[in-house]
Amino acid sequence: MAMAEISRRRFVEALGAAGAVSAFALTGCGSQRASEGGSAAAGGTADTITFAQGADPRGLDPAYVDDGESAKIMCNIYDTLLRYDTETCDIVPGLSDLPEISDDGLTYTFKLHEGVKFHDGTDCNADAVKQNIDRQLEPNRTEDMPYASFVYGSEDTNSGVESVEAPDDTTVVITLRAASTPFIKNMAMALAAPVVAPSAYADGANSNEKPIGSGPYKFVSWSKGENVVLEANEDYWDEEHKPQTKNVIFRFIAENSSRVTALNNGEVDIIDGIDASVVPTITDAGNELFDEDGMNINYMAFRNDEGQFTDVAARKAFCQAVNVGEMVKSLYGDYATPANSVMPIWMAPYDEDIVQTAYDPDAAKAAFADLGITSCTMLTYTNPRPYNSIGGQPLAEAIQGYLADAGVDMEIVSYDWTTYQTKVETDKFDVCLYGWTGDNGDPDNFMNLLADTNVSMNVGRYNNDEYKALIAEGLATEEGEDRDAIYKQCEQMVADEMPWMLISHSKNLAGYSPKVQGFFYHPTGVVHLEGVTKTA
């Protein structure tokens, strides 16, 4: 009994002691490193840059992922055959010079730079490129390669890559099934296109968690839910893009406000995924704001194939009822531009002469009365989206207000984004909110949405043979005035037929420390950090 009593007493004492030690540790160490953003190297330049984003990457092998969070990290680890220019979607040489394209537009010959090595020391040569493409072609392609069909096409649709050959160490010959002008832009994408070292996925190796590329930064570690750490590839082959900072860390902070606080507290150097509401908090703390036009469109789709809005007159009445300019200014402030075209303003071949249906509430009211439309149903998502930073609900309510003024009672049915993606395919609705973030900077990538037979891409089920013919023609036409003219025609058709009510193009927003130099958020949504530095 005596032993037991002593033990019990010790148990309680130990509990108290642990509490005391812990309390000491917590309070005693609390002020350490709180406002440090990374250690400094000699010479006044910090050796670490920390970028905070909203979530973990889905994976780190570009063949198996489809999300922007993965792309931002991967574009620093891997090279692509071609790359986008620093601030635009113009194509410049990457691992290869610009390819020679055969007259029929079917054969692309890439000449690779010699002597490029992957981070594990293996050769980044033509055979490696061939293996990367081959694994994503049918029949090798697996269901978990979400961008393979977009970048490399498929047999069903007679599109994309027919074959890839590596006649020597530095030559890659890609043969297409049908001429496709956007293909060259696909080769610069951060998804599916980057070249992964074959050793990273050979013999069951997990390239999704232990990536090996040839890019300016080497993978060091991935702590799930916490961070990915990269370090500079000192032997990087491309002098122009040599990494300037020793360590790059991607941290994952889900909450918007927490990311902002982390930036203001000096814990991280750059954050993205923010909306206009937190901009004053960022700038008031002395940080910088990056706000350049993004590559996206925020729109409302009419149900074009059934219901009340199959008729152009009904769609026009709806568009007349909503003051898009006023609404965009009111909801997004200076961080979105009213959309006058499907493509963002900066993307060729944007045509400033195209005019969307003007706001005319009286005409809308009269037209709705003539057509007998007194109510309608809108489906919307609730979450913020890259093209709509405030989420679908406030936008839907704003439109609902305008419709009420025009004598139409609009019911809003909202779902979280995951559920919504299915609901727009299965549920009945008159109008729905949707949007698109571009993949490759090619006009086809935007305009093709209204010709797509896949409902998840063409939620309004717009089906116009003339429009589809133009899209097919544009796909195969070389870049230049002829091609621009085709897409201008498409834009004009959208303005005339109004399958969508265009709303806005949102800006890419990011906050960064004033100590950071050389930061640019590419319109494709990736962030190349090799040229970014930070003063200590």
Partner: protein, 338 residues
């Protein structure tokens, strides 16, 4: 005692079956179709249907449940739809973060809660008692999410004395070990990393401890008041023993028995993953992982995580009862008699 433990373990089986059925049905009935999330925006309807077939989502619900349970019984919780990684591996990777946060939070809650409860009871109906009661009420009623944001704004955003999120500076992160950074850094003698890990855990642990602290305070106060009225306490005082010694050595030791149970149960619920706290503080534990997975309709992850949490809770409950019996011999006797 062994018979008692075996009996409790057997009783846990129907509990776990119930939990598995509930979480399975909730995910199937209320969650969105995972196919569009998994296959991405370029997937065709045919590809999505093929994926559902391949993943058994078109099988009868009973077949799907049977597959889940038979897998779980062999330790195979399946693969994440979204990342194709084994659910068990992902959960085990994140578990140390949740354990570390829960332990520190319960230590804070227990130390402060017991102290407040004792002071409150020994100063019954005084302003000190009133203050402690108000603190307990605030702790019980304040949403953790809101408290977390307040703490971040105050200590990270305004005072800049503590980090707002994460577990440790990534460049100081210990490699290998237990995954409990405070312990790993201490054992390896890396005091800079220990200090950094400690500074990161302060805010989430304080936020998470608030509710438990309030419960422990109220339980300690109530238990202390009962004990202080016992004959042996009166006798001790009559013998001239100092009040403080009577309060601590006679009253508190006996009052701690029910408090120990409460502490154990609170630890069990904290180990289940503090979803809101982990999300607000970007703490990479199980709770945050489950939230992310619910949003992606990642059925295997949510099912596996909830089942694991239920198992943990059952085990903690059992351990608490065993400790209680150890601390209070009367419990042991009554079990044997029963």
């Amino acid at each position: 005692m062994i018979k008692y433990v075996i009996k409790r373990l057997l009783l846990a089986i129907p509990v776990l079956i119930g939990v598995s059925i509930i979480v399975f049905l909730i995910m199937r009935v209320f969650s969105a179709d995972p196919a569009p999330v998994v296959l991405g925006q370029h997937a065709t309807a045919e590809a999505m249907e093929a994926w559902r077939d391949a993943n058994g989502l078109n099988d009868p619900i009973l077949v799907q449940y049977f597959d889940f349970v038979t897998g779980a019984l062999t330790g195979n919780l399946g693969e994440s739809y979204y990342t194709h990684t084994p659910v068990m591996t992902e959960l085990l990777n994140r578990f140390p973060a949740t354990v570390e946060l829960a332990i520190v939070a319960i230590i804070i809650a227990a130390v402060i809660g017991v102290a407040l409860g004792v002071v409150s009871a020994t100063h019954k109906n005084t302003p000190i008692d009133g203050l402690a009661t108000i603190l307990a009420l605030v702790g019980v009623s304040m949403p953790i999410f809101w408290l977390g944001v307040l703490l971040i704004i105050l200590f990270a955003g305004m005072l800049h004395v503590l980090p707002s999120s994460g577990r440790i500076d990534p460049l100081l992160q210990p490699v290998g070990g237990t995954g409990l950074y405070l312990l790993d850094t201490l054992l390896s003698g890396d005091f800079e990393a220990f200090a950094d890990a400690a500074s990161h855990i302060v805010l989430p642990a304080v936020a998470l401890s608030m509710y438990s602290m309030a419960v422990i305070t109220r339980m300690t106060r109530s238990s202390m008041l009962d004990t202080l009225n016992e004959d042996y306490v009166r006798t001790a005082r009559a013998k001239g023993i100092r009040k403080r010694r009577v309060d601590i050595h006679h009253a508190l030791r006996n009052a701690m028995l029910p408090v120990t149970t409460v502490i154990g149960l609170q630890l069990g619920s904290l180990l289940g993953g503090a979803m809101l706290t982990e999300t607000v503080f970007a703490w990479p534990g199980i709770g945050k992982y489950v939230v992310d997975s619910i949003l992606k309709s990642d059925f295997p992850v949510v099912q596996g995580a909830v089942l694991l949490i239920a198992v943990i809770f059952v085990i903690i409950n059992l351990v608490v009862d065993v400790i209680y019996a150890y601390l209070d011999p009367r419990i042991k006797y009554s079990q044997e008699e029963g």
